[in-house]
């Protein structure tokens, strides 16, 4: 076993694949950041709101007013550095830090694919992605290698496979497979689409989409790994992601996944693309093809690196299952829902009304949410318990300052999940100001009184 691992770790592969991925990833990040800024979302999501929903343990990560744009600028420059392979390791580190900072500023905007980007950029810090076709390697022959350890490319394939496979596992649940929920809600309202439109209200279509989506997610990593099925798999990847792009507002994610899945191809494919680019730039790729092999010195630095990556991979495999440690229905309580590749999995919405009570005079104030929250924040807050709790504490502090004696905060909250009639979500008689965020189960979430079987 040990020998097998050692043998594997000493295997080499062409540096072209990783260089291609570095270039593609860096450029896609540049474009996504530009898109985000050009939509005015920096203002809208990070600067305008009075209040931000933070992550437990990262409450100190906040937008910094107008300088928030600076963080986006830094991330953009770092992404460009990754793409060009310029001061690569530093660029990757800065990109990881700045991008992750952006994502931690407000969990209202949490998306699995942002988390995916953080995960990938963290791993990229440790990979020799600038050994080939990079400014670093161009300027310094010492840093130029045609071959690199194979695992440094495989680790990306593994991370991508985890995303798909875990997303597929999550779809193995009774709502998704046997009620075709939430697709039954999402598809019919696209009935004005040309061609597909009418079909999207057919029950069998909802089931077909649900089942094929689940099978797609579970099998696509394997189909991409096998050489013989690879092109077929790639066609599926393109079709699948384009369909999701047409049907759902999911931004740049489909493109990121389509381009990322190219990493599964043979290095000859990537070299061909890189050669085309160099041709267009009137430049010869041959200078990088020096037959040199990057051999890792087994010094303490590379050992630490391997340990970190090893632990990180274990974490990636285990963390999505943390929901097993909580009682109650995962979809209902959302304890362990984020950071586990549960993508487009449920239709959940809520309605909340907060009441602040003066502990001494017993006078009540009904809170008008949009005085404090953006429409987007209110929407996300209404069905996620940790948001509700954090907002309740904000209200407590706000009204305390406004002169209310020891404000008690109660919420009338209703949540509708996957086509069930809305019902009361949070215990309305619990003073949320006296409850605190932790990794413990939140006992003030009312029971779901239904079961969704599966992962």
């Amino acid at each position: 076993m040990n020998k097998a691992i050692k043998d594997y770790l000493s295997k080499q592969s062409s540096a072209g694949t990783l260089a291609f991925f570095r270039l593609a990833f860096g450029l896609m990040m540049c474009l996504s950041l530009l898109r985000f800024v050009s939509y005015g979302w920096v203002d809208k999501f990070y600067i305008e709101p009075l209040f931000h929903f933070t992550y437990y343990g990262f409450e100190w990560v906040r937008p910094i007013g107008i300088y928030t744009y600076l963080i986006f600028f830094i991330a953009f420059i770092a992404a460009l550095g990754i793409a060009l392979g310029y001061k690569y390791r530093f660029s990757a580190l800065i990109f990881f830090l700045s991008f992750t900072y952006i994502e931690l500023m407000d969990k209202t905007t949490y998306l699995n694919h942002y988390y995916f980007i953080s995960v990938i950029s963290f791993v990229l810090i440790f990979l020799p992605a600038s050994a080939f076709f990079s400014i670093d390697a161009y300027r310094n022959a010492q840093k130029r290698f045609e071959y690199i350890p194979r695992w440094t490319t495989d680790v990306l394939k593994l991370l991508l496979s985890i995303v798909y496979f875990y997303a597929g596992l999550a779809k193995i649940n009774s709502d998704w497979l046997f009620k075709a929920m939430p697709l039954k809600i999402w598809l019919p309202t696209n009935s004005n689409l040309p061609f597909l439109g009418d079909l999207l209200n057919e029950s069998w279509v909802h089931y077909a989409f649900s089942w094929s989506g689940m099978i797609y997610d579970l099998s696509i990593p394997f189909l991409l790994l096998y050489k013989r099925t690879r092109w077929f798999a790639f066609v599926l990847v393109v079709i699948f992601h384009l369909i999701t792009k047409i049907l759902f507002p999911i931004g740049v994610f489909p493109y990121i996944m389509i381009v990322s899945s190219l990493v599964f191809f043979e290095s000859s494919f990537h070299l061909k693309i890189l050669r085309r680019i160099t041709k267009a730039l009137n430049f010869n790729i041959a200078m990088f093809q020096n037959s040199k092999v990057l051999v890792e010195n087994l010094n303490s630095f590379s050992l630490i690196k391997r340990v970190i990556l090893g632990l990180f991979l274990v974490f990636q495999l285990v963390f999505p299952f943390r929901y097993l440690a909580y009682p109650g229905e995962l979809f209902w309580t959302e304890e362990g829902f984020r950071f586990s590749w549960r993508v487009m999995l449920m239709e959940k919405a809520g309605y909340t009304e907060f009441k602040v009570v003066d502990a001494r005079t017993k006078q009540e104030i009904l809170v008008i949410n949009h005085q404090f929250l953006s429409a987007f924040q209110e929407k996300q807050m209404a069905f996620q318990p940790d948001f509700i709790l954090e907002y309740a504490h904000f209200l407590h502090n706000y009204y305390k300052k406004a002169g209310v004696n020891n404000p008690e905060v109660y919420v009338a909250s209703y949540v509708a999940l996957n086509g069930r009639l809305s019902k009361t979500y949070i215990n309305p008689s619990i003073n949320l100001a006296k409850e605190y965020e932790s990794f413990q189960h939140k006992s003030w979430i009312l029971p779901f009184n239904d079961t969704i079987k599966g992962f």
Binding site: F45, L111, N112, I185, Y351
Partner: protein
């Protein structure tokens, strides 16, 4: 195993690709929900007819005002009051269409901001200079201001009449009342004309699913109207729901006339219900509406059609209002618990429409953009 996977995939692909071919046969699918037809029914059978009726009432309001100014006596004062009440009632049936021109010219804010600003009105009258289009003037005009000018200036008809006859400022009072009435009539004319010239076609053609589509904005306006204008404004505020349980009998709709809040409320609820059901304004026919849209997407909740649940809740709300006093000022003072019961029934309806219905129709609340995943 691999072959099996291929088979599944082949199936998936066939399903998603052949739809292109088979679609040509299904374009005439009678079950397909036709957004254009929905919008056509809304525009031609509900919205425009309601605005037409409303326009007639505002014209009558203006002519009754002229008559009253020509011959200011108690008979004509009563005629004017009656014309005002008729127009106010009719306004309740168009208040839920707060989009397009109506939103642009702030029809609702200008028509029905209450409690009215008495001091502001008196200032305007005294100074004789005001621009009724400004935000700051919303609370100094509209039906609540006319309410004050016709019912609130004195305790009996004679003392009210005095302001339009023998008072030193009588001319100024007349000017102001006439400006406020004219503004109402102008606004109803502008909105109706806009619908009848260009907007009707723009509206019906805007039959997509985007956040700015007509179905989306109309449904949002409908939901918001019930929550904010009906539940909160007509019942919640007076009953102290938003004010540490301090009641505000003077913040009811039609405060100076004082025996009309219930009538106005019931018309508003019925108008909302009829719109939900796609009920024609001029006949008893139910056409395409939110109800048929919900039924089209087979929205069942707990084994019951969501549309039935919502209709039942409308009835529950209407029932709860039947025990209320015509004057909500009196009601909150005498027995606020009945107001609170009405509020609770409305609250339930807000949740069914704003949460369950919007979710079932996959319409987002307001303009919430950003990516999903």
């Amino acid at each position: 195993m691999k072959k099996l996977l291929f088979l599944f995939f082949g199936l998936g692909i066939i399903i998603s690709c052949t739809s292109n071919d088979s679609d040509t046969d299904t374009t005439s699918n009678p079950n397909a929900f036709d957004r254009a037809a929905l919008l056509t029914n809304w525009a031609d059978n509900i919205i425009v007819p309601r605005y037409e009726i409303y326009k007639q009432k505002t014209v009558l309001l203006e002519s009754a005002t002229t008559l009253f100014f020509n011959t200011p006596n108690t008979v004509n004062l009563d005629l004017l009051r009656n014309a005002w009440f008729e127009a106010y009632k009719s306004y309740q049936s168009v208040a839920l269409f707060n989009f397009g021109k109506a939103e642009e010219i702030r029809l609702n804010e200008i028509s029905n901001t209450y409690p009215t600003d008495v001091a502001g009105i008196e200032n305007n009258i005294a100074s004789g200079s005001y621009n009724l289009n400004l935000n700051a003037q919303y609370a100094k005009q509209g039906y609540p201001a006319i309410d004050y000018l016709l019912n609130g200036l004195g305790t009996d008809d004679a003392s009210v009449l005095k302001f339009y006859t023998s008072d030193a400022n009588a001319a100024k009072y007349k000017d102001y009342l006439s400006a406020v009435v004219k503004k109402i009539n102008d606004n109803s004319t502008v909105v109706l004309n806009d619908w009848k010239t260009s907007f009707r076609d723009t509206y019906v053609k805007n039959n997509g699913t985007s956040v700015t589509s007509a179905v989306n904005s109309t449904t949002n306006a409908f939901v918001k109207h019930f929550e904010k204008d009906i539940r909160t404004a007509k019942v919640g505020i007076a009953a102290g729901k938003f004010s540490n349980e301090i009641k505000f009998p003077e913040k009811v709709e039609g405060f100076y006339k004082n025996d009309i809040s219930k009538t106005l409320l019931k018309i508003a609820i019925q108008s909302s219900k009829d719109f939900f059901n796609g009920k024609s304004t001029t006949s008893e026919i139910n056409g395409a509406g939110l109800k048929s849209f919900l039924d089209y997407v087979k929205a069942e909740r707990d084994g019951v059609l969501l549309s039935s649940t919502i209709n039942k809740q409308y009835d529950a709300v209407l029932n709860s209002t039947s025990v209320l006093n015509e004057s909500f000022s009196n009601q909150v003072n005498a027995d606020n618990s009945k107001m609170l019961l009405t509020y609770d029934a409305m609250q339930k309806l807000v949740i069914y429409t704003k949460l369950d219905m919007m979710q079932a129709l996959n319409i987002s609340i307001d303009y919430v953009d950003g990516d999903g995943d």
